[in-house]
């Protein structure tokens, strides 16, 4: 290992060599001068000098000095030792690399999502996400423009507050219409985030609420659709058939302020002047903005929330009718912001990291076992070195170094593996209407994480055996020949402890993964309350393509007629929302005559659905009627509520004919539908209202019930729509089953990873116990031979070997169960249809682990049993 020795060391060695040569030359010269023959003189001089190598060695030790030299020497020694046992080296490195990689992979996902919530933004730790009303998962945008502006101008704790509204739109003007994700943003949007334009400029304060058709392009869109045109700034492009001027391009990597969700382009809040109503009201449809604030330095989240609450109370006092319901403000740091993907990430990834941590501990125990066994067999060598003058600190240092060298190599391997596994995160998310931009990232944080964990692991793997071995008195080891080489009782205890630890650590992993797998099965088998199997949905980019309202309504009716007439189509309908796709639409609804409790949220889920929607999804309408084509724009406003809404607002009464105020107009209840799943199978039911698509529908999603496989009908449906107008953009044509799988993405992630981790755990625990029992049995070969010669039967031998293994398994399983009880508590919220201590899972996992461990003990026992006692006795 030339690369590790430094020049000083080599130079001094060379000089010492020359010094000794000079000594010998002078001695020879003297003898020759005294009359001796040259050859005899040389021999005598060398004899007189003594052992040259020894002199060199002892002298160079006097230099002591440079710690680099010492470590270099130790590293060379360790590498030599590791080269001597490649089996151990490769096994230990591979195990450590896999375990470190498990951790760094999950960590890279956390790093890519929670730790970098807004790529490109400055100091995201100071950013907070504002929520109004009851804290919930995946809420709808909470603020109106006027409320937002008051909060922005009257607070004392924020350096800046931005607002945005996320939507999608069609880019027209090119050969093909293209869907793009757009955000209406406040003028200070980029400023508060700390983003500088790559080209051109961003929005000016006085452009915020005015009708200025300016647009900022995202880097990716600029690259793909506009071929990185360096002169794009100032050009006019067509968005939804309106000319808009490009004023700037955002830097590469920046995809917007909503964590995990991509925005392709940005415009101001009312760029065309068509949204005046939305800009001048405080409730109903004017509540459309997500808000993020940047705290002033030194201000805590609690202080800021208090400050905003005061401002909000004044707003509510001034406009009480526009602020019914809950108006308290809560602030979340961006890593767990409920808007975007991070709310889900924060509920899943830390738990997976904890699992990965358990795998790492388990691996440490396994490698420590291997190391210990190796050190025990090297005890004589170590004892000899110790009696020749190596001090204990030196020995301990070398052993620790062995662990460190192993883990550094493993860490390097893990870095390479992680650079690939980090990117596998996106696999878990299918293509949906949501522009997810989720993936792990391999940056310096992850590399540092890997380095730190591998060093810790190295210390842990090396320290235990080193601490043990250094305690063995040299003289004792040398005196005792083979019989006690197997190690004193101390070694046995430590080995047993490590085996117990491995079983105890792998059991909770197995139980958790069992619970997750059964949760996944329950979720897949659960009845969501609507038909999933013969439904096809297709999104038509109608109102975003720039048609007038009347044109759009006409086209919708045409679509319904054409698609209904297709062969293989049972029922065709429209909706503007697909259940179980991680999204929902929420609105405040005020039932007539209903007095809300203080702070009661009046938000309901809503969907706009066309006639025969309930028929196509097989959702029974329990009372009243479905919508009909008569429920059009000119007819009185009507809605259908679900059972939860009916029970909440009109308990014990007939809901039909009752009225609800939504968006400032009154809707009459004409039907009650059976509850069905909105977001997740395991959600707590929220009130849901359905409104008539032809009255208030916004987005156009064609929903078709088919006779056969829905996907087979996709081309026909697309053709039917294009026959009406070839320029109609059609997106997201897929089966309902495919869409609703989105809801179980996180269950899939959890069970996949927990399954992998548990498998690793099982393999490690079983090989660990096998290794230790086999090793111990081998060390007792002589003893077993004696026993057999004295009349012990083969069954006795089997019992002898098995019993020691059984003890370890029993204790390990007991401790593991206790540990599992604690660990399953943290995953309770992620389970569905199964208790955290589900007896079937626990018993079957305990039996599986117990049986595998027993099998691991049986093989060495079997081998010992079949030994020929005569040979066994001779073998020491």
């Amino acid at each position: 290992m030339k690369w590790f020795s430094n020049f000083g060391f080599q130079r001094r060695n060379r000089e010492l060599q020359e010094e000794i040569d000079a000594h010998l030359q002078m001695a020879i010269a003297d003898r020759v001068a005294r009359g001796e023959a040259e050859e005899t003189a040389r021999q005598a001089a060398v004899r007189e000098f003594g052992n040259i190598l020894l002199v060199q060695d002892v002298t160079s030790q006097m230099w002591g000095g440079g710690w680099l030299e010492q470590i270099g020497r130790d590293v060379r020694y360790v590498l030599r030792q590791l080269r001597k046992s490649p089996g151990f080296t490769i096994t230990a490195t591979a195990m450590l690399a896999v375990a470190i990689c498990a951790n760094s992979t999950v960590f890279s996902w956390i790093d890519g999502t929670m730790l970098r919530p807004i790529p490109g933004a400055r100091d995201t730790g100071d950013l907070v996400s504002l929520q109004r009303g009851e804290r919930n998962f995946s809420p709808t945008p909470p603020f109106s423009y006027l409320d937002y502006r008051d909060l922005r101008e009257q607070n004392h704790t924020f350096a800046g507050i931005l607002a945005y509204h996320h939507d999608w739109i069609t880019l027209t003007g090119g050969a093909l219409p293209e869907r793009a994700y757009i955000a209406n943003v406040s003028a200070n949007y980029f400023d508060v985030l700390g983003i500088k334009p790559m080209l051109g400029r961003f929005f000016l304060p006085d452009e915020e609420a005015r009708a200025v058709p300016n647009l900022v392009l995202g880097y990716a869109l600029w690259k793909t659709r506009y071929g990185k045109d360096p002169a794009i700034v100032g050009k006019s492009i067509e968005v939804a058939r309106h000319p808009v001027t490009v004023i700037g391009v955002a830097p590469e990597g920046f995809v917007g302020a909503m964590p995990g969700i991509r925005q392709d382009l940005w415009v101001t809040l009312d760029p065309l002047g068509t949204d005046v109503w939305r800009m001048t009201h405080r409730s109903g449809g004017a509540v459309w903005l997500n808000v993020i604030g940047r705290l002033r330095p030194g201000v805590s989240r609690g202080q800021a929330a208090q400050d905003l609450d005061t401002v909000m109370r004044n707003i509510v006092a001034a406009y009480p009718d526009q602020h019914l319901g809950d108006n308290r403000i809560t602030l979340d740091p961006m890593w767990r912001s409920p808007f975007g993907a991070n709310g889900y990430m924060a509920a899943t990834l830390p738990i997976l990291l904890a699992f990965a941590g358990v795998v790492l501990l388990l691996t440490c125990a396994n490698v420590a076992t291997l190391t210990l066994v190796r050190f025990v067999s090297r005890r004589r060598e170590l004892a000899i070195r110790q009696s020749l003058g190596a001090n204990r600190i030196q020995l301990v240092r070398q052993m620790m170094l062995e662990g460190v060298v192993l883990s550094i190599v493993a860490g390097a391997v893990a870095v390479v593996m992680t650079s690939w596994t980090a990117k596998t995160f996106a696999w878990f998310f299918r293509a949906t209407t949501i522009p997810l931009a989720l993936n792990g990232g391999m940056d310096h944080t992850v590399v540092i994480g890997i380095a730190v964990s591998s060093l810790l692991v190295g210390m842990l793997c090396g320290a235990l055996p080193a601490w043990r071995s250094s305690h063995a008195p040299a003289a004792e080891v040398l005196k005792a020949e083979s019989a006690s080489i197997s190690g004193g009782s101390r070694h046995r205890k430590l080995l047993s402890g490590l085996v117990v630890a491995q079983i105890a650590l792998s059991l909770p992993l197995l139980i958790c993964s069992g619970l997750f797998l059964r949760t996944l099965r329950n979720l897949a088998g659960a009845n969501p309350g609507f038909e999933q199997d013969h439904i096809l949905t297709a999104t038509v980019g109608l109102n975003i393509a720039g048609y007038s309202n009347d044109e759009a309504q006409l086209i919708r009716h045409k679509i319904l007629d054409r698609v209904s007439a297709l062969p293989g189509v049972k029922v065709a309908s429209f909706t503007d929302w697909i259940p179980m796709t991680l999204s929902h639409k929420g609105e405040d609804a005020y039932p007539e005559g209903y007095v809300p409790h203080p702070h009661e949220s009046l938000q309901v889920y809503h969907a706009e659905v066309a006639p025969r929607y309930f028929e196509s999804l097989h959702i029974p309408v329990l009372e009243g009627r479905e919508f009909t084509l008569e429920d059009g724009e000119k007819a009185p406003r009507v809605l259908i509520v679900d059972e939860t809404a009916a029970r909440r607002y009109w308990p014990g009464q007939d809901p039909l004919g009752k009225r609800l105020r939504v968006w400032g107009s009154l809707f009459t209840v004409v039907g009650v539908a059976r509850n069905s799943t909105h977001m997740f199978v395991n959600e707590s039911p929220e009130p849901m209202i359905y409104m008539s698509f032809f009255q208030v529908g916004y987005e156009t999603i064609v929903q078709v019930e088919t006779e056969g496989n829905p996907v087979d009908l996709a081309p026909a449906v697309e053709n039917a729509i294009h026959e009406i107008d070839t320029r109609l953009p059609v997106f997201d044509v897929r089966s309902m089953r495919e869409s609703t799988q989105m809801a179980s993405s996180f269950a899939v992630i959890q069970s996949t990873l927990a399954g992998i981790f548990a498998l690793i755990g099982l393999v490690l625990a079983v090989t660990g116990i096998y290794g230790v029992v086999a090793y111990r049995t081998q060390m007792r070969t002589h003893e077993i031979g004696v026993r057999m010669a004295l009349g012990a039967s083969r069954v006795d031998v089997l019992r002898l070997v098995l019993s020691q293994g059984l003890w370890l398994i029993g204790i390990g399983l007991g401790l593991g169960l206790a540990f599992a009880l604690g660990l399953t508590r943290i995953i309770v919220r992620l389970l569905y249809g199964i208790g955290a201590n589900d007896p079937v899972t626990v018993v079957s996992v305990v039996m599986l682990l117990g049986a595998m461990s027993l099998l691991a003990c049986y093989f060495p026992a079997h081998r010992a049993m079949r030994r020929n006692p005569v040979i066994a006795i001779r073998e020491l």
Binding site: E19, A22, H23, Q25, M26
Partner: protein, 121 residues
Amino acid sequence: MNEKDQYKNRIELLQGTLDMIILQTLQWGPQHGYGIVQALRLQTGDVLQVETGSLYPALHRLERQGWVQSEWKQSESKQKARYYRITAKGKKQLARDLGRWERIVEAIGSVMYVKPKESTS
């Protein structure tokens, strides 16, 4: 603990003596390793023979302590050799070692040359 300490003391005593002898030899001028061996042999009439296995480690240790300095020079017989020279620090050390040595000799002497009658009782 005890065993180890005793062992250490013995080493130190020997080392101290060897160091003192080497420093004393270098008092008369810079000398190389072979020269030191020869000088001691001449002065003590072959009674004290320093092992090379002790001499060279001792020289390198003394150099590390800063008590001697070394440089490569041509000897009279045109042999390139490493010459050691005592430093000011080394001279002070020699004085200290000598003082201690005299006290030890005196102490040992007072034990070895006691009158027989005092030991009977």
